[in-house]
Symmetry: C2
Subunit: 305 residues, 2 copies
């Protein structure tokens, strides 16, 4: 097993206001880089590139630092931090966005501190594909880059997205967006088409149905862990990515069997994320709880050949 390798995330830091059938919260810490880095910090050393406004204080920075997350790449600029307001109802599989205020995120240009230039693993959270490509190009030494994206970029910047897709090893994408990107209903065909466009590994996130991993060698499915209650699905996808990439970075092993383990850790961490609003559960975890739920997913899927 290789040495633990450093993991860098570029994405958003936001204040989220969320309503679900389980309750309501106002302006809690969120964003793709936040969920990803807090989750991955359970596995490896993580550094963050993001932007916040002057309303972002020591209280928020301390959440990252308490998890030993390197925030030297979190640029603080005049103005307000990104705000998102959304609502979930029914089976909570889809968020209804009530309000988006990009604020300082609108003019975000990722700046990689010199200290981050030896990062081995990179997660490009869901930001503008041109910015994702710029970050990818600034870090030629990477062992593996994973990319996330969304319908907005698939429709709005397809060429730019194709350019960055061609440079990454791993795509983590929602089911509906995999279909949109590939123009295929069959997820198997969708993954084949996407893999031809660049990433050798495609992980299709299916929310409460788990995830499917398509690698050069095989297909692997992992279920979502069955929960009594889902409190808040916000950040579950980035949390999955944090567990997945966190495990890859801590092991430095990209072989098929380890990609499978990484997907299980992704599912484990995603299941914790939704048990409380925001980062609540992810900050109170123990390493034992993570390993215990990993074994529970083993029992959940085991059958005799």
């Amino acid at each position: 097993m290789a040495a633990v390798m450093s993991l860098l995330v570029v994405g958003s830091i936001a204040f989220d206001s969320i309503r679900t059938p389980r309750g309501e919260v106002d302006e809690i810490l969120g964003g793709s880089a936040t969920f990803f880095s807090v989750t991955a910090s359970w596995f490896t050393s993580v550094s963050v590139v993001a932007v916040v406004g002057d309303d972002f204080g020591e209280q928020q920075f301390r959440i990252f630092r308490d998890r030993s997350i390197d925030t030297r790449g979190v640029e603080q600029v005049p103005g307000r931090t990104f705000r998102w307001k959304g609502e979930y109802s029914g089976d909570m599989n889809q968020a209804l966005t009530l309000d988006t205020q990009l604020n300082v995120f609108e003019t975000f240009v990722p700046k990689i501190p010199a200290a981050y230039l030896d990062s081995q693993f990179l997660f490009l959270g869901n930001i503008m594909p041109t910015l994702q490509l710029q970050v990818r190009r600034a870090l030629p030494q990477l062992s593996a880059t994973a990319l996330d994206t969304m319908n907005f970029w698939i429709h709005g910047m397809p060429k730019e997205l194709a350019s960055v897709l061609a440079t990454v090893e791993i795509l983590l994408i929602n089911e509906a967006e995999a279909r949109m990107l590939s123009h295929q209903n069959s997820l198997k065909k969708a993954a084949e088409i996407i893999r031809k466009a660049g990433p050798r590994v495609v992980v299709i996130k299916r929310g409460e149905h788990g995830a499917t991993l398509f690698s050069p060698e095989s297909v692997f499915t992992v279920p979502a862990f069955p929960l009594d209650d889902v409190y808040d699905p916000t950040g579950a996808g980035d949390t999955f990515a944090g567990g997945f990439m966190g495990h890859l970075a801590r092991t430095g092993d990209l072989a098929d069997a380890n990609l499978r383990r990484a997907a299980v850790y992704g599912s484990v961490m995603g299941s914790f994320a939704v048990e409380e609003f925001g980062l609540g559960r992810l900050l109170r975890l123990t390493a034992d709880e993570i390993e215990s739920r990993y074994r529970e997913i083993k029992r959940l899927t085991h059958f005799d050949a």
Copy 2:
């Protein structure tokens, strides 16, 4: 392992007209009892109780007999056989019913031939709950009964459905209908509530997402087998039930480990069902193909602890 036990199904036999993005067929053989019995015939000896009209000919009966299915309980009465016309689009997860002609099925009263009275396993396909209960009561010697139902009965005959639910060991039900029946969004809670109402085993069918089995001992998930193309989802749920109950009946073993194997066989058979219109693929199967796909699902879900 106990001796192979006989399996009885009570349900519908129909002529289906189906349109999907892959094509269109007119008045092909379908119905819950048809899909279930043809599927289960790959595992054990099966007998059918159903009703057909005088438009049902030797050509149709031969399809059952070629699979050694006992059709002595298929009553032929004057009138037309049940007709269903439906369409699937998009991700094909839901059928749009274009036309339903109950015909002879409208006045169907199941009659159990004396030769069937020693059946050990029973599948009560999706028919009126009062008829399901009547069949269940006529067969007190059963080892296990599995029940299917639908939104129409959940809303329209909740008390009658509760009466039959209290008498069965296994409920096979769609995800949306499990939520409807239990008034719970969490499938884990839904299964707990349903299990208190009677069945010790609840299998929640999730279409392209596979199935989840809730038993007294554990929870088990099996994915759907990833396919290049889905041609026609009609009958997939009854096919799952046919594989599940077929395996239970051929082994006579209701222990947790064997319920898991049965759910995998359900998924295996469901995956074949949707690869062609109607019964096409299910009639051309080989035992080797079934075992091979079972092993493929093992590879699809395996990861190291």
